[in-house]
């Protein structure tokens, strides 16, 4: 059994090395795509904490993403706050919004929760247009690159390393959280609310924590994205983005950190690979999406775990409940 653990560790070290030396070998476009990937991984981690682990469906994450992005951008442009403070404020403010949204959502579950959060996304997008004093409305907003201790993150390589560090750190945080008291409480709520309450899990408290935590990840991702892209267009933060986010975690694998990463890879890399197909791109993308889910109904991570167990005896047969949020 021990060699398998060694093998896993070795693969991880190899992957880490590749990610570290990538800016030396890859061109700027690849780095830009990778940076976007990291942003999506952050969102997927946040959404998976809420939907995958705690079982609360959210189609409101485009709104959290937008709130994070605009908070960072407005603080940086209007009041010239230092970038670090902008990012921290973006994450914390979004977490606060997530907490507040979580309160009325306590009574909702399943489809009703999905629709309420979808409504939240649409309302926030409209607010971005209406609050033109702060957000410049439909004109969009320019954002200067982030800077930290005299270092400006204006090249693709610097942006790449910034995002790599933040993403790995937040991945480690998520890993610790889901393996601890909080993660166990989330899973208990997802699997059976009554049983969880009977075991002493405070439902209201942990559900709102899940919302706040999830929003924190997504707001941070939004803030980082604002500094990286350098321009905010309110059209970007449509409900379609929310659907993309939820697609990431379902295609990747619910309640799986690996799944969050794999799903983000799927959603970011696939359109890049299909870019040459011109008008056929969306069609082929949709087809691949359908086929993937037909053959891997438990997502990429679920399939990976299933075959790792069946073929190599690694881990255990994955068990995923059919119904979520009911």
């Amino acid at each position: 059994m021990r060699w398998r653990r060694w093998l896993g560790g070795l693969a991880l070290v190899a992957l880490g090395l590749i990610l570290l030396i990538l800016p030396g070998v890859a061109d700027n476009y690849v780095l830009y795509v990778m940076t976007r990937l990291f942003v999506y991984v952050l969102v997927a981690l946040g959404l998976n904490l809420l939907t995958g682990y705690a079982g609360q469906v959210s189609l409101g994450h485009a709104a959290f993403f937008a709130i994070g992005a605009y908070t960072a951008a407005v603080l940086a442009e209007r009041w010239q706050w230092p970038s670090v403070l902008c990012l921290v404020a973006a994450a914390l403010f979004t977490a606060l919004v997530g907490y507040l949204l979580g309160l009325p959502c306590l009574r909702l579950s399943g489809l009703y929760l999905a629709m309420a959060t979808l409504g939240f996304t649409l309302i926030v997008q409209e607010m971005l247009l209406q609050l033109a004093v702060l957000t410049h409305g439909s004109e969009g907003m320019k954002v200067q690159p982030a800077s930290l201790l005299g270092l400006t993150f204006d090249t693709d390589t610097r942006k790449y390393y910034l995002l790599l560090v933040v993403t790995v750190a937040m991945l480690a945080v998520a890993r610790n959280l889901v393996r601890g008291r909080l993660g166990r409480a989330f899973l208990a709520i997802r699997d059976n609310e009554r049983a969880a309450a009977a075991m002493g899990v405070n439902l209201a408290r942990y559900k709102t924590i899940a919302f706040a935590l999830s929003a924190l990840y997504t707001g941070l991702a939004g803030g980082l994205s604002a500094f990286i892209v350098g321009f905010l267009d309110p059209q970007e933060f449509s409900f379609f983005l929310s659907i993309q986010f939820i697609t990431i975690i379902i295609l990747g694998g619910l309640a799986s950190l690996l799944g969050s990463v794999l799903g983000a890879c799927f959603l970011i890399f696939l359109p890049e690979l299909l870019a040459g197909l011109d008008v056929w791109q969306a069609l082929v993308y949709g087809l691949i999406m359908v086929v993937t889910i037909l053959f891997m109904p438990f997502g990429l991570a679920g399939a990976l775990r299933r075959y790792a167990y069946r073929w190599f005896g690694i881990g255990a047969e994955p068990m995923i409940p059919r119904r979520l949020g009911h």
Partner: protein
């Protein structure tokens, strides 16, 4: 003032009736098969284009086109269920939802490839000239859309109440196992449900496309209809009808009192407020929790 208001209400009711039809499609499939079909709006879009091609391309008379569109749309529903949904009926419900979202991307981009992304004019038999009776002002189109929608709802109701197949469908919705034991072919009922839902979506497409627009993004109307179904209580047929109509009227009225931006989101603000008070919608039963 009153004329404008009443005309806003009537035209809102017309759009709302179409929302209600699409919402019915959502609810019928959900009740019978426990699946939420996010490609429901795509039936509306596809049937709009089908009737456009038949009318303009082949010059077939309107009545025939209507029948052909309903049949073709129903057939599309059956095919979608067989290919995309049935193979993963045992999968987590989210995976099925994602499969239908994938299918809707395929349908939307196919329409884009064939017809392009410009708005096409779909003819209608109803006149758009305003008519006035007393304080109430409306167009023949409003009344035509409302009457057609109500007619379909009545036909559906009679079908579910009076025919043997309709009874079998209600039985399946209540308990698949019991229905199967009574000799109902549940698999055939599933196909039929999808066919009916898609056909209703088809009618909705023919009715709404002349009012709003016909382009590959017409399918996004499904989001509003879904909101209507949720507002009424997902899984409740009267809920879908009332929710859809309510949504249409409120949307139109808020467009009159506020600006166009507010019009787009007013319904969602209302929806969230209703859900806070009634977490299972207006007509929805509180979800049964299995312990």
């Amino acid at each position: 003032m009153t004329e404008i208001l009443t005309s806003q209400v009537v035209s809102g009711l017309a759009t709302g009736c179409v929302y209600a039809l699409i919402a019915l499609g959502f609810v019928l499939i959900f009740k019978a098969t426990d699946v939420v079909n996010f490609a429901q709006g795509e039936f509306v879009m596809a049937s709009g284009f089908m009737s456009y091609t038949l009318l303009i391309g082949f010059g077939i008379p309107y009545g025939l086109v209507l029948v052909a569109t309903i049949v073709l749309s129903g057939f599309m529903g059956v095919v979608l269920e067989r290919i995309v949904v049935r193979p993963i009926m045992d999968a987590p419900i989210f995976s099925i939802v994602i499969a239908t979202i994938g299918a809707s991307i395929v349908l939307r981009s196919s329409a884009g490839i064939v017809y392009g992304y410009d708005v096409l004019p779909l003819p209608t038999i109803f006149s758009k000239d305003p008519v006035r009776i007393g304080f109430v002002q409306f167009t023949a189109m409003d009344v035509g859309v409302i009457a057609s929608s109500l007619a379909i709802m009545v036909v559906l109701y009679l079908f579910f109440r009076l025919t043997k197949t309709g009874t079998a469908m209600r039985a399946t919705a209540q308990s698949q196992t019991a229905a199967r034991l009574m000799g109902v072919s549940v698999s055939r009922i599933f196909s039929l449900t999808w066919a009916i839902s898609a056909a209703i979506g088809g009618v909705a497409g023919v009715l709404i496309a002349p009012i709003i627009y016909l382009d590959p993004n017409l399918g996004f109307i499904g989001v509003k209809a879904f909101a209507g179904a949720i507002l009424g209580g997902f899984g409740s047929i009267p809920g879908a009808i009332v929710g859809g109509m309510l949504l249409g009227v409120i949307e139109n009225l808020s467009g009159y009192f506020f600006n166009a931006g507010i019009k787009q989101v007013s319904t969602y603000i209302l929806l969230i407020l209703v859900l806070v008070v009634r977490p299972a919608g207006l007509f929805g039963a509180a979800p049964v929790r299995r312990v």
